[in-house]
């Protein structure tokens, strides 16, 4: 790489390297797959248990999902930070985006439960924000669409009075908004080109 360069070649090299660097994001598919799976299971478990004893609200599946997901996310994040070959400022922005989402989520959870309301719909609507923005920052369309899907799902769940239908809408949003983009992202991270 010691051949003389013209200014045009220099500029092309700079652009090429900078554009490569911008695509160097941390592996994030794990989080979408983990939380998509856990929250879908929590919703199904809640619905099943509510069916066994109608009129009773069960928060245990959500609590278990939150604890398991939180512990695994922290473990994976710590492991990733030790192995990361590159630290991109965009990764930091995405991390803070999700951290602020978790703080807002806990506050919404606390205030809605205090009022005796169901927090699932506001949380579903809120979930669209970090999902949509992560997709935009990474220029990864499945996550952008996933974010839009969460907003749509929140509105549909508000309009549908039946708990069973709400469960289906929520699970569909989780599968299409988190799990499917998570699988596609994992394929991208592993260097598999889309079919």
């Amino acid at each position: 790489m010691d051949t003389p360069m013209t200014p045009e070649q220099s500029l092309r090299l700079i652009e090429s390297m900078m554009s490569q660097a911008k695509r160097s994001f941390s592996r994030m598919s794990f989080y979408f797959l983990l939380w998509g799976g856990l929250l879908t299971l929590a919703m199904v478990a809640t619905q099943v248990w509510t069916g066994v004893e109608p009129g009773t609200r069960y928060g245990a599946p959500w609590g278990v999902a939150g604890l398991v997901g939180g512990a695994l996310s922290m473990w994976y994040g710590a492991r990733q930070s030790r192995q990361e070959a590159v630290l991109n400022p965009m990764d930091r922005i995405i991390n803070w985006l999700w951290a602020s989402f978790v703080i807002a989520l806990l506050l919404v959870l606390f205030t809605t439960l205090l009022e005796g309301d169901d927090p699932v719909i506001p949380i579903t609507l809120m979930t669209g924000i970090p999902t949509f923005l992560t997709g935009q920052i990474m220029r990864f369309r499945p996550l952008v669409l996933g974010g839009v899907l969460f907003w749509a799902a929140g509105v549909v769940m508000q309009l549908v009075p039946d708990a069973g239908a709400r469960t289906i809408v929520y699970c569909a949003a989780m599968v299409l908004g988190y799990i499917v983009p998570g699988i596609l992202l994992m394929r991208k991270e592993n260097g598999v080109r889309p079919a």
């Binding site: 360069m5 200014p7 220099s10 660097a21 991109n88």
Partner: protein, 95 residues
């Protein structure tokens, strides 16, 4: 019209590639730079040393999973030199 002299430290394909990568990230390790530039280990090592000697990058040697790991980060001087280099190239191209 005469072309303004370019920074000789940066006017080298591999050194310019390294600095261009480091401008966009906070830090990158040796293997990442190796993969992205397509250089040989020996050449990359030499050019990193030259950039370090010029004060353009900061090199931290440590261990990752019990293996030696070299992490590079652009210094404020390196960023300033890069900006000057880009400006000089653009001035030339726009003449």
């Amino acid at each position: 019209m005469a072309f303004a002299p370019l920074d000789p430290v940066l006017h080298n394909q591999l050194r310019l590639a390294i600095v261009s990568l480091l401008v966009s990230v906070e830090q990158a390790d040796f293997n990442h730079l190796l993969e992205r530039t397509g250089a040989t280990r020996g050449n990359l090592s030499v050019q990193i040393s030259k950039l370090k000697e010029a004060g353009y990058i900061q090199v931290t040697k440590g261990l990752r999973d019990n293996y030696p790991n070299t992490v590079c980060r652009l210094t404020p001087e390196g960023l300033h030199a890069f900006e000057g280099y880009v400006k000089a190239i653009k001035d030339y191209l726009h003449r």
